[in-house]
């Protein structure tokens, strides 16, 4: 299978067989999902209340149990007691832990940002020392990047490392802020600047003299997870615990965040499904005016929109996982620098990872918000599950790079790829200008997904058009025009979303026939609405960078590209709601 270039979706069209979708899950994938869900429901969910109180030792015990089943080692090689389940398998585990409350957060932080730095950048000795314990749950990891004065600006860290006189230790001083799992972690991946200059990653053991913890933060949500400052006062870290190269800590930090981001996407989609499920159940049980509220159009419309966004997000998350698996499968695991090659492979999809993070965390916020609304006053009361879901959701737009930072990463990475000649962006933008002047292609709405494919194609053209104009007009100043970059990011996210859902649905229609009709309706509903958002992003952006006749010409080009027959979205929502309510859960 040929490797698809990261970011190329913006200028190229691909076919359904080139993307991985949930329709491709193997029997093993299904079993992985089921075991994880059964384990979480059976062993963890009954303890969610106690987890919320941060009962001593509880999470550790559960992590150990999860480790025994192999639920911590999906990303770890077999020779270090891992399962090598691939990114699809690992996403399925993450997605299916979501009924575990704080356990879910601990699990994701441990298996993601906690363990992966050693998986990808550890030396053989470091891997042998730490990975088996991390894969089985004997050891728990945490990731210490953020500091009180440097959050988004992670490279602005003040923590300092100085080599000891005998050359055997680095002496670390500084404070790390908001460290997930800190309360019970054994292994801390700490970033510090050697001599205050060279940003470097270190593996720091819990019992290191000079390492201590600040108090637990009192949080808005994910209250059961441990979040504490990690304080380093002359902490003596053996030189062999340098992770990766001195001065290359940013390579470790950012590559790990890429994976953290796609994993977070999977977790958000899982949580969204759970929120939808309880919302449907509640809507069926709750009666007002003598009828279940699930009878009311406005409630049905909410359920339809929730399901649709989840379907789209799920299509994106597994497409991303498939991309990662494809590129990672080409790496010789026995080679000494397999980990680095893998990190490099993952970096290829930095854009896709950021897109997933932003999209899925915003799906979850939308879904939990509507869930509270469907519950009415009861949604505001702690006794009901959605109250916690609503609070727990909010952090996802903040950690693993805020959604603003991720929005900046998307267009800037894309433009860099264009500049380096990895993606022929400029040529594509110029071609669009030419195409727009030619006659518009008629859309064959009779074909399955004919309209949707045309919308994806035209959304790409519109985005290229306004990105091209902005880049041309603003040149180097574009980096300072964040609102424009934000619009570009939003358009790129929508395009990836639309394309992912169309490709998936095309596959589903071919394989499942009639049963995929509701998927097709969700694809239509999403594409139609997203297309209008892309159009309006283009109009807003162009109006900000151009004036007069040039602006008018550009706007009329956008208008021409954006011409679309009206779609009965209310009708679509009704059909989607019927199915979702009949199934009683997200079942696509």
């Amino acid at each position: 299978m040929s490797i698809i270039k990261g970011g190329s979706f913006i200028i190229e069209n691909i076919t359904p067989d080139q993307v991985f979708t949930p329709e491709d899950f193997t029997e093993e994938h299904r079993m992985i999902a089921k075991t994880t869900a059964d384990f979480t429901e059976g062993e963890v969910a009954p303890l969610v209340e106690e987890l919320e109180q941060q009962k001593e030792g509880l999470i550790r015990g559960l992590m150990q149990k999860a480790g025994e089943l192999g639920l911590l080692g999906a990303d770890v090689a077999e020779k270090y007691d891992g399962g090598e389940l691939g990114k699809v398998g690992s996403s399925l585990i993450t997605e299916n832990t979501v009924k575990g409350g704080a356990f879910t957060v601990a699990h994701a932080a441990h298996t993601g940002i906690g363990t992966l730095p050693i998986v990808f950048f550890g030396t053989e000795a470091q891997k042998q020392k730490y990975l088996p314990g991390l894969a089985t749950g004997e050891l728990i990891a945490s990731y210490c990047l953020t500091e009180p004065s440097s959050g988004s600006d992670a490279l602005g860290a003040k923590t300092k490392a100085v080599l000891s006189a005998d050359g055997k230790y680095y002496i670390l001083n500084g404070t790390k802020q908001f460290i997930t799992n800190a309360g019970f972690a054994d292994v801390f991946i700490v970033y510090a600047k050697v001599d205050g200059e060279h940003f470097t990653a270190f593996i720091v053991d819990r019992d290191t003299p000079g390492l201590s913890l600040g108090p637990e933060e009192k949080k808005m949500g994910i209250k059961g997870s441990s979040t504490r400052p990690v304080i380093l006062e002359d902490a003596r870290v053996p030189v062999e615990n340098v992770l990766g190269e001195i001065g290359k800590g940013h390579v470790v930090a950012f590559n790990i965040l890429n994976i953290g981001r796609y994993k977070l996407g999977a977790a958000c989609i899982g949580s969204s499904k759970y929120a939808l499920e309880v919302s449907i159940q509640y809507a069926l049980e709750r009666k007002q005016f003598g009828r279940p509220i699930a009878d009311f159009g406005m409630i049905r419309s909410k359920l339809a929109k929730m399901a649709t966004r989840i379907y789209v997000g799920e299509s994106m998350v597994y497409r991303n996982a498939g991309l990662l698996d494809d590129i990672l499968s080409g790496i010789d695991q026995s080679s000494a620098d397999a980990g680095r090659q893998a990190a490099k492979g993952i970096e290829e999809y930095a854009i896709e990872c950021s897109i997933n993070k932003v999209f899925a965390s915003e799906v979850l916020d939308f879904v939990t918000d509507e869930a509270v609304q469907i519950y009415g006053g009861y949604g505001f009361i702690q006794e009901y599950p959605v109250e916690r879901m609503y609070r727990d959701s909010r952090i996802n737009r903040i950690f693993e790079g805020t959604n603003e930072i991720n929005r900046l990463i998307i267009p800037s990475t894309l433009l860099r790829k264009g500049m380096k000649g990895e993606l022929p962006l400029l040529a594509a933008a110029q071609k669009v200008m030419g195409d727009v002047l030619a006659a518009a292609q008629p859309v064959d709405e009779g074909l399955p997904l004919g309209l949707e494919k045309s919308l994806v194609d035209r959304a790409k053209k519109i985005a290229l058009l306004f990105a091209g104009v902005a880049a041309q007009k603003l040149g180097n100043k574009l980096a300072e025009e964040q609102e424009i970059l934000g619009n570009l990011a939003d358009a790129i996210i929508e395009i990836f979303a639309m394309e992912s859902v169309v490709l998936r649905t095309e596959k589903a229609l071919a394989r499942e026939g009639d049963r995929a009709q509701v998927k097709a309706k969700m694809a239509r509903l999403y594409c139609y609405e997203a297309f209008q958002r892309v159009e309006s992003l283009a109009r807003e952006t162009l109006a900000a960078v151009e004036q007069g006749d040039t602006l008018r010409t550009q706007l009329s080009a956008v208008k021409k590209l954006a011409r679309v027959n009206p779609v009965n979205t209310i009708g679509l929502q009704r059909d989607i709601a019927d199915r979702v309510i009949a199934d009683g859960r997200y079942n696509f």
């Binding site: 079993m31 089921k34 075991t35 089943l69 192999g70 639920l71 999906a74």
Partner: protein, 261 residues
């Protein structure tokens, strides 16, 4: 010790059952799982093997192609070998035909002991394993919650109405599992990845030398005339008032409205 487990694939108990246009149960979008009672049997088989430190657990299922996924689930839990008798279009049999097929298939398998779920959560007939025991001419102990093995014999504890019954039988014998026998384990990730590599024997009904007329709907002694969903429960009635007064009212209603007394 060679342990054979009979397993049925059933609907996930959380599945909402619906009927299709032909009045048949609609399988689209349904999750299929190992019948929970059979899962207890599989778990007990694995524990016996672990206790003895040796042995082989074979899981046999009769059903359509899709039943293979449930056999794999048992292999992922730790069973060693699967046997699928594919009914390939000749579904619609009953306990009688299923027992015939199972008994015939068992001729291909070595066993010292047979375990099964005491009933399946779908049909709930609790007949197949006892019928198989009769066909094989071996003892059966049903609805057991505990099983101890000593050389050549077994001591099983079974639930009866107002207590338990402890039964000793010579092996080979069939035991059917009740909840409480053994809480099933979760398949580990390692187990899941190994499941695909474990041996799976497949037989068609013809392979077993079974005549098409003797299985499926043709061979069944029970004919399904019609399927219908349970009528939805009507809302209840709350009788208000002082206890004594309310009780009187309830009796009145039970007599005049519900007509049950």
């Amino acid at each position: 010790m060679k342990i054979l487990v009979l397993m049925k694939q059933t609907f996930d108990t959380e599945t909402k059952i619906s009927l299709d246009a032909n009045g048949k149960i609609d399988e689209a979008g349904v999750n299929f799982v190992v019948n929970p009672y059979c899962e207890f049997a599989v778990e007990e088989a694995l524990r016996i093997k672990e206790r003895l430190g040796a042995g082989e657990v074979t899981v046999l299922s009769v059903g359509p192609e899709r039943a293979e996924t449930s056999i794999r689930q048992c292999l992922a839990m730790g069973a060693d070998k699967g046997v699928l008798v594919n009914t390939g279009g000749l579904e619609g049999g009953d306990e009688f035909t299923t027992a015939q097929i199972v008994a015939k298939a068992i001729e291909k398998v070595e066993y010292d002991i047979i375990l099964a779920g005491f009933q399946a959560v779908d049909d709930g007939s609790a007949q197949v394993a006892p019928r198989v025991a009769e066909l094989l001419g071996i003892p059966q102990v049903t609805v057991i919650t505990k099983l101890e093995l000593e050389d050549g014999k077994a001591i099983a504890t079974r639930e009866i109405d107002d207590g338990v019954e402890i039964i000793e039988v010579a092996l080979p014998a069939i035991f059917t599992a009740q909840q409480g026998l053994a809480e099933p384990r979760y398949p580990s990730m390692k187990g899941i990845m190994q499941a695909k590599k474990k041996p799976m024997e497949r037989y068609s009904l013809a392979d077993l030398g079974l005549d098409a007329g003797l299985v499926g709907t043709d061979g069944a002694k029970v004919k399904i005339v019609e399927l219908s969903l349970p009528t939805p429960r009507k809302g209840g009635k709350i009788v208000e008032g002082e206890p004594a007064e309310a009780a009187q009212k309830v009796v009145q209603l039970l007599r005049s409205e519900a007509k049950v007394i």
